[in-house]
Symmetry: C2
Subunit: 154 residues, 2 copies
């Protein structure tokens, strides 16, 4: 499902990046927020809010939905996590500083959501928006289909 070399490093790096970003921006990277982000990265793929909740419950007593959703809101607002609307799931952003230019290739077979960037798409979206006198706040681009691995293509 993902091909990071050492996944524990991959999680640690994501947490470290988040810490730095929050530091720089004077945001509070609290315990709850850190733990939620850690679980998101642990899955290293789309994870549902209630699955996070379940996994937290095992570690911390009595975490409730609002706590998880608040943490996810914080992480999403600050570009550390993406919400994938077509899955009602959340995934860690792998480059939080260029967070607005991302889109996803979502394999309906293996469930991977590959985060990509592409200037042509960003340009085309920007142009068509301005032609329509539309001021962009947020772009969601979710491409669903089947990935090469699942199709056996090489």
């Amino acid at each position: 499902m993902h091909n990071c070399t050492t996944h524990s490093d991959c999680i640690a790096e994501a947490l470290h990046r988040a810490e730095e970003i929050c530091d720089k921006r004077d945001l509070r990277f609290t315990d709850v927020r850190r733990k939620v982000l850690e679980l998101v990265w642990q899955s290293h793929g789309p994870i549902k809010a209630y699955d996070i909740l379940d996994q937290l419950d095992q570690r911390i007593a009595a975490i409730k939905p609002p706590t998880v959703y608040r943490a996810l809101d914080f992480l999403t607002e600050n570009g550390l996590v993406h919400k994938i609307n077509s899955l009602n799931a959340f995934v860690g952003c792998s480059h939080p500083l260029r967070h607005r230019e991302c889109y996803f290739l979502i394999c309906s077979d293996c469930g991977e959501a590959k985060e990509c960037c592409n200037l042509d798409i960003v340009d085309a979206v920007a142009k068509t928006s301005s032609r329509n006198r539309f001021e962009i706040k947020h772009v969601t681009l979710e491409i669903t289909g089947e990935c090469g691995d699942c199709r056996g293509v090489h």
Copy 2:
């Protein structure tokens, strides 16, 4: 919110187009499906499943959620309606025959979801997908922001 000249005509046309398409494809454009599509077009903008349900209830006794969702599934699968995931809402497709190339400009102020087509975007998406050896089944592009009218731009 929308600028069709005569909205009753606009609804009638949409229903007529749907009828033709279903005819051609040997699909059953049943009463429930017609009524749901009619309500979607009546709103002429994103409408929620349970709002459709409420409005149906006033006309038909005891319509239940599964009935509405089934009709919406049918209409979505056959390109007559789009689901807008970021709103959990549904909107009529204004050109069902070219249904796959659409995207939406969604104004968070007035709530309009303008359906657009743009070949540059379609191309860029197709290219990046094939570069990633990814076979597209479905593309969701939802651009949220503020429309020109709401910003007072002319």
